[in-house]
């Protein structure tokens, strides 16, 4: 605001038409417009186009002859909703997102609390805690796949030799095990995100409150329960929502670990399969739209809670 006034004072009628406010608005629009155009063309319009595609009977091989408009149908949704695989995938998605979020945020909280007080080498431990989050997903899933390999993976070696398992477990291709594995992987990969945010929140918490409680004779768990936890709760809520949104739509991890087999097929992997393997654009769009609908509701919840407390 003050910038604008000073500028007005110092360059009287420098060039161009209109008031200085109008010129500032023009400059602003000019600077932001490349980004807006890019986002409109590559994000907003494609999302809207997905809606159109979902109501069309469109195959990848007939793409060039098909028109963008016309021939609308609800067949895609009928097919998608009447297929048992879809409902199973939806349940799997919810279980995966729910358990993945809870375990990632939970472990992130434990890590933040354990690393709260300084010790020698804390900086290094803290930094290395973030590695799973920044490491390339393809490398991470690959090394996990080898670790869990039934023939020569280290986990099965230790399991059969030290822990006395009868036989190696096919962690990525057996029914209950595979879903648990992808959830544990999600926990490993995403807890650093929660750890980072909760550590920042803990650093902002005033130490005097806890000291006063300790002096008054509160035990460590009582201090946590009644002083630390209430302060962390808003952050945890936002974190949980954000993680749930991203886990709910996560494609890479499950596709790379199991390919969606052995009871781990989530909606996003189904979308990919319909799109690339079957070339059924309509059905893929319809399922993406279901994902988007759930997501929109979640984002709306997020905006409302973010408006309430400025945590994000």
């Amino acid at each position: 605001m003050s910038t604008r006034q000073r500028f007005r004072g110092r360059e009287p009628g420098a060039s161009g038409r209109g008031t200085l406010a109008a010129r500032e608005a023009r400059t602003g629009l000019a600077l932001i417009s490349p980004t807006v155009v890019l986002v409109l063309v590559l994000v907003v319009l494609p999302i809207l186009w997905t809606v159109v595609l979902a109501f069309q009977d469109l195959r990848l091989i007939r793409l060039r002859t098909a028109g963008v408009f016309g021939d609308y149908t609800v067949d895609n949704f009928v097919d998608v909703f009447s297929s048992p695989g879809f409902w199973e995938a939806l349940v799997t998605t919810l279980v995966y997102a729910g358990c993945g979020t809870a375990s990632a945020v939970g472990l992130g909280l434990v890590a933040a609390l354990a690393l709260r007080r300084p010790f020698r080498g804390r900086g290094f431990v803290r930094a290395s805690m973030l590695l799973p989050y920044v490491a390339p997903v393809v490398a991470a899933t690959f090394v996990w796949g080898v670790m869990l390999n039934p023939q020569f993976g280290i986990v099965n070696e230790i399991g059969t030799r030290v822990l006395g398992w009868d036989e190696p477990i096919a962690f990525l291709s057996e029914r209950p095990a595979a879903l648990v594995t992808v959830i544990v992987f999600e926990m490993w990969r995403s807890f650093p995100f929660a750890f980072l945010f909760l550590t920042a929140r803990l650093q902002a918490a005033p130490a005097t409150l806890e000291e006063a409680a300790r002096v008054d004779g509160a035990t460590p768990t009582q201090v946590f329960r009644h002083i630390v936890w209430p302060q962390l709760l808003p952050t945890i809520a936002v974190l949980a929502l954000l993680r749930f949104i991203w886990t709910f739509n996560n494609f890479d991890d499950i596709y790379l670990l199991t390919g969606g087999g052995a009871g781990t097929e989530v909606i996003s992997v189904r979308v990919f399969d319909y799109l690339v393997s079957r070339g059924d654009i309509g059905a893929a769009s319809a399922q993406a739209l279901v994902l988007a609908t759930v997501l929109t509701v979640l984002v709306a919840v997020y905006f409302r809670s973010a408006a309430k407390d400025e945590v994000a």
Binding site: T3, L42, A111, A114, P118, A135, V146, G217, V271
Partner: protein, 315 residues
């Protein structure tokens, strides 16, 4: 800050007051038990977490320097034996396919090109956009911010269908340029958001002083604001580089058909299922994929904290 937390605990006054209140003979009060148990538990948790997070990376490096036959002989050995160490895996994975290798050098060039292109375009757009949002008043400024936040929250799988169809229809699938633009559209929201926050911390009075001296807005941006925001711009660039280097889904959708255009991520994922290529060679490939990110990550960390402390010293 940290000293303030620890100092009262170390001072002799605090322990002195408590025993006098506690009844005599109760050595194992709830407080003592909790403090001791949590004190031990803390170290167990730290050790367990360090093992959990770091072991996969250690395993990756270990397997990348072992010979396949020795791995199959002793799969449980978790330390390298000098006699069996080999760098042949790295030679195999890097040499071009024409010479019997896996051609990861080519993949690295592709990944690097895409990532650097994404960084350049994102930073150019983001600096201009963030400056506009932070300093200028124009119609729709708030709406633009909301739009970018929504873009940040919308995940890539929802864009996969329309973008795949669009680029197939116009025949641009398989070229690197459009992929760079897609990456820019994915990273620009975060870049603008963080840069805007940083620009807002740069006092407007500095810019005004330059304006007083007759500098135009563009000169102010180039000569004053940009140099001040350099730490934020650099760390943003590294962040964008990491995202573009790591990205998998769009690379898979756009580039999978032509091996000469594969990125490292895509190459590793495509070759991972192959029976002919030894696991140890692919492990060398995943080290090659991961190492630049780990190096950049530790560099960014230092840069970020350096920038923060530099600002604090002046204040």
């Amino acid at each position: 800050m940290t000293r303030m937390v620890t100092a009262p605990a170390e001072s002799p006054a605090a322990p002195d007051t408590r025993p006098s209140r506690a009844p005599t003979g109760r050595r194992w009060s709830r407080n003592t038990v909790e403090t001791r148990v949590l004190g031990v538990l803390r170290w167990i948790v730290i050790a367990g977490l360090a093992l959990f997070t770091l072991f996969p990376f250690y395993y990756m490096v270990l397997l990348s320097v072992r010979d396949l036959s020795s791995l199959l002989d002793a799969p449980a050995r978790l330390w390298p034996v000098l006699s069996e160490l080999t760098v042949g895996t790295y030679r195999d994975v890097l040499t071009p396919t024409g010479s019997g290798g896996q051609g990861f050098l080519r993949f690295m060039a592709n990944s690097g090109l895409i990532a650097l292109g994404t960084v350049a375009v994102t930073l150019l757009f983001a600096v201009l956009g963030a400056y506009a949002i932070a300093r200028l008043r124009f119609p729709g400024r708030r709406k633009v911010s909301v739009l970018f936040l929504a873009v940040y929250l919308f995940p890539s799988i929802l864009l996969a269908v329309p973008l795949f169809v669009l680029f197939t229809a116009v025949g641009l699938r398989g070229s690197l340029g459009p992929l760079v633009l897609v990456y820019v559209s994915q990273t620009i929201a975060v870049a603008i958001y963080t840069l805007r926050n940083y620009f807002q911390t740069v006092p407007a009075s500095i810019e005004e002083a330059a304006a007083v001296d007759g500098a135009t807005r563009f000169t102010v941006l180039r000569k004053v604001t940009l140099p001040l925001a350099m730490p934020a711009i650099l760390s943003n660039g590294l962040f964008v580089f990491m995202i573009a280097w790591n990205e998998f889904l769009f690379a898979l959708l756009f580039l999978v058909e032509d091996r000469s255009r594969w990125t490292v991520s895509l190459g590793l994922s495509q070759l991972a299922g192959s029976i002919e290529i030894p696991t140890t060679v692919l492990m060398a490939g995943s080290v090659i994929l991961t190492l630049p990110i780990v190096i950049l990550f530790f560099a960014t960390e230092r840069l970020l904290t350096g920038g923060l402390t530099a600002g604090a010293e002046k204040g």
